[in-house]
Symmetry: C2
Subunit: 317 residues, 2 copies
């Protein structure tokens, strides 16, 4: 007797590539946020392809039938976690690994752009003005990277390759990783503070007025994690009062950043549209990753990239 | 009997730092371009501090008394070389070593900025527009670096550290360095073509319509060498016709670039004001380097950084 083909519910705005490889092995059902609650009870697995949606949090069933596995095509899981999902025996996996190197390169691009004042250069070019300035050397500077997962570690590797002295901060101190107790001291000596942590109760608005206050006036702050890691008002104040020299945000408390947000026009603040990890081919890679996980799951083998739902990220190395 | 204190003539617009260390050991005489010809015959050494000036070429005495040593606070010597100086027994030294790492970082900043489309991001920020795009990965791309001196080699080291596959092209093929005969082939496969060569008769306008024509439409051209390495009109045409994707010029045939130059507004062209090697403290480093060379020279020891005046650069490793 052939076992029934599992139903994979896909929450998407545009369909994921590569799922055709599952033809005959999975019944793929697409839904938008509005249809999610009605379709969740009949689904065996849920693929959260539209990682900008918070619909899972709102639609997740309490006690009733529900998917046994949820995969999100993102590194962070903050957009889908809710107490009912955390308490259930449903397994949650993420896209660990896909974004590490692209985000590390993006951070290097921002560090170098700020050190060499490329924003200033582009501004002078618009004004047809030849204005020589002295740039900063990146080699020999210090970075404090907050978030000791694969993204933070890739950032450390890439900055080290450029001659930057790095310190990595995680939730729990261990070899090569500082604990939260060292954060203020490390931030106070850093030329670059880089936020690459997951959004959890512990990290919510961890970068606040106090933390910007301990930074050096010559230092810059870069966020490629989640917008809610930062008290955005405190960052604007820190830039206005020259507590810090510059900042670059790729993520925001509200995304897309509304056209009327004051953040677009803060002197010294570079705004980019949550693109640090998204390089040509990334959607293909995410699709292939899901297919590989599906094959493990359907065969009854253990999944990888399993999120600790209480902590809100994939723990350990 | 005390030997006479040598006279060091300094061609400058603003005085070099650190020369105070030579008090009592050198007679420092400052001059501008207009006074150079009159003062050259009485000088024992000439420090070309204002490396933007071409005054030495015009003022150099033919057969008469002249400095025995000329030092330029720059890597290139094209602005001061003339047949009379090349034929004379006057020793010419340059600032080899000071600019290598800063220029390598600047090239890395440009490569990463183009791969991540930071110019586009800054443009969208000005328009308060959230426009997600897919960036390119830098790791795994190919660079062709033209110029096998210490600057080109530092560029290769830095790009390699970012995972870029590099090929280095010099005047003479040797281990690890391609000769000019390989240039077209290497350029045709490169994602990044980086000009870091000295300006000589052989390199004058070496990047012309033919060379831009062999590049890939997705590739970018970066010049941190000298403006005259490039046929600027051909580059503008190559960008307009999409023969290449983008370019970044830090050096120009005419510097400062005039406000009415069309180069300021070429789509896909990033213009910066000859600042790639100039990091905070660079003038101090140049001053210290001259003092150290002076001490060797005054003691009758052999100089380092000696330019091959026929070739127009410091040869070999």
């Amino acid at each position: 007797m052939t076992p029934p083909v599992p139903t994979v519910l896909v929450l998407d705005a545009d369909p994921p590539p590569r799922l055709g490889r599952l033809t005959g092995r999975a019944r793929i059902v697409h839904t938008d946020a509005a249809g999610l609650a009605a379709r969740l009870p009949a689904a065996d697995a849920l693929l959260v392809w539209d990682f900008t949606s918070h619909a899972v949090r709102e639609a997740w069933p309490g006690e009733g039938p529900r998917p046994r596995w949820v995969h999100t095509a993102s590194a962070g899981v903050d957009h889908l976690m809710c107490p009912e999902l955390a308490a259930s025996d449903t397994v949650v996996t993420n896209a660990r690994g896909i974004f590490d190197q692209p985000i590390a390169e993006y951070v290097a691009a921002l560090v170098l752009a700020l050190a060499k004042d490329l924003p200033g250069t582009l501004g002078y070019q618009r004004e047809r003005t030849w204005q020589h300035r002295e740039a900063r050397r990146v080699a020999g500077t210090r970075a404090c990277v907050v978030g000791s997962g694969p993204i933070g570690r890739a950032v450390v590797r890439t900055l080290k390759a450029l001659g930057v002295t790095t310190a990595l901060v995680g939730r729990v101190p261990r070899t090569g990783i500082h604990g939260p107790g060292d954060l203020d001291r490390l931030m106070s000596r850093a030329d670059w503070v880089i936020a690459a942590a997951p959004l959890t109760e512990q990290t919510y608005r961890m970068f606040d007025a106090h933390r910007f206050g301990v930074m050096q006036p010559s230092a810059s702050f870069i966020n490629v994690g989640r917008g809610q890691l930062v008290d955005e008002d405190a960052l604007v104040t820190a830039l206005a009062r020259r507590w810090i020299a510059a900042a670059a945000l790729d993520v925001f408390a509200t995304e897309p950043l509304p056209a009327d947000s004051p953040l677009w026009r803060v002197p010294g603040l570079l705004v980019s549209p949550h693109m640090s990890g998204d390089t040509v081919g990334w959607r293909d890679e995410l699709g292939v990753q899901f297919v590989e996980l599906y094959e493990r799951w359907a065969a009854g083998r253990s999944l990888v990239n399993v999120v600790d739902k209480k902590r809100g990220y994939v723990p350990g190395h």
